[in-house]
Symmetry: C2
Subunit: 304 residues, 2 copies
């Protein structure tokens, strides 16, 4: 039985590309491994796999007991494959906060960099291996996606260094390719409000409140805001079905660097954390582009 | 304020030597850092620091708010410094099971090898650095200690590879030095029963039961067993004071590779896990030398 490698549910570009890159790395190391995914691709990732002519990884929902797995770009149980508790985790490579408890020793490689693919690029080097041209292109794409072309505050010198190294292998002008790729990811005209909300949505716990935080990138915030009423309805449904305290949507302008934060449900924590006017649905957060660094930690701190 | 680096409470050789080695690594990387310890040295570690003429790290009990720390050889809160929740963890290097939850992304390097110093030796190489002769000797000592001179089932090819590399730098005959060092660590004639129990003792949770598991290495199990009644009294006190379900002492013969397991308190789980005769205090476990690999996981599994 092959080892399976996958990123989080509701996969973003990093989760898909890092899984495929990890599969190439482990294959070069002599392992029998297959990259899979836990959800549908977003437009950006579709553009990337198409650009590099890479086959779509198989969709899975759960794993068999004792299945050997490698996790990339996530570690929390709620974001992972069903039945993970009965699988055998060989390795986790991630760049998020951790919430993990195991019965046995485990291999972990967590770095506070902007993208999981940055760490995987380092793993290739540490093993004296070089990724293929296409896989280098995928890892470069993941770094561009997670760091918004190096403009996110999560971006580190290490991300830029590895991205430039990967761009050389892939023979790509990363500035031009990166902007094309990001813009390809922002088109939502053919999407329902529900699809927009679920595109890049993650569940979190803040103190004793549970919530979802979704993010949609755009080059024009009003393109999304004009569908506010539809979106609020979807988020209210989500709160009801999943028994959440509240639901957030980050509408992030990737050119001007800022986020219109849409808050549905109990607004108390968003008020305390971001100064949301309680009579309104949204608050504009200048310079905020990162869920992981600028939205989740302040909410966690305010809740404790 | 210097970064502080330390191993677990009740430090064993790996916790002391890995902290000192990590301090040298980070110093070479330009960081202001100091190795400290969370408890008294055991005889083996005393022998080692004396052999390599290395200064005793300062003893600390808690850290100030916002103190930057690096943890080696442990990750669980109960085994770490007081006030850790208010410190800033920069990095954890460990080879144990994990139980950790953070508010922010974190740097983690966990490998399923026999010793933390094995991982630190790899970190030196990855950064194109070579440890000094003395620090190589300390890391070699930690590997010998944690793997019982490569005889423990926790020992991996990677441990042996790094130990041989370190022995070359340290210019040491590791077979001879290793046996001298291990035997130096087994003398308990000048110790009270309480000191014996606390020398290498760690707290654990198994399902809803809490317990302590201590280990003492010896070249003659009867040397320790002749003090059974004293030891039982100490363990009963421990159970009462810390409200434990039970307390274990592994009396491990490092030459013949086996453990006499002394069980005090509620014997149900030890009976279920190791076939302890309920009318007796001890059971001999042939081939068992590792708490981490051969005692804790079976107890965890039996409890769930
Ligand atoms: Mn990522
Ligand atoms: Mn250790």
């Amino acid at each position: 039985m092959s080892i399976l490698v996958f990123g989080h549910k509701n996969p973003d570009t990093d989760s898909i590309c890092s899984a495929i890159a990890m599969a190439e790395l482990q294959t070069k190391l002599g392992k029998d491994i297959k990259a899979v995914r836990l959800g549908n691709l977003n437009k950006e990732t579709e553009y990337i796999l198409n650009y590099f002519n890479i086959e779509l990884p198989e969709l899975i929902e759960k794993v068999k007991d004792e299945q050997e797995v490698i996790l990339v770009d996530h570690n929390e149980k709620g974001q992972s494959v069903d039945n993970r508790d009965n699988s055998k985790i060989l390795l986790i490579v991630d760049h998020h906060k951790i919430d993990l408890s195991t019965a046995d020793p485990i291999n972990l490689r967590f770095e506070t960099v902007g993208c999981t693919s940055t760490i995987i690029a380092k793993l290739f080097k540490e093993n004296n291996l070089v990724p293929s041209k296409e896989i280098a292109g995928l890892m470069l794409s993941a770094i561009i996606s997670d760091t918004l072309l190096f403009k996110s505050p999560t971006c580190t010198d290490e991300d830029i260094k590895q991205a430039k190294y990967l761009a050389e292998i892939a023979e790509i002008d990363y500035e031009k390719y990166g902007m094309d790729m990001l813009i390809a990811g922002t088109s939502v005209d053919d999407k329902t409000a529900e699809e927009i909300y679920n595109m890049d949505m993650k569940p979190f716990s803040f103190g004793d409140q549970t919530a979802t935080v979704a993010q949609v990138n755009t080059v024009n915030i009003n393109d999304i805001l004009k569908r506010k009423n539809e979106l609020i309805k979807v988020m209210q449904e989500k709160i009801k079905n999943d028994k959440l305290s509240f639901a957030l949507l980050m509408i992030t302008d990737i050119v001007n660097k800022g986020t219109e934060l849409l808050v549905v449900g109990d607004k108390t924590l968003a008020n305390k954390t971001f100064g949301l006017d309680m009579s309104k649905d949204t608050v504009y957060l200048e310079g905020v582009v990162s869920r992981k660094k600028q939205i989740v930690p302040p909410l966690t701190n305010a809740a404790n």
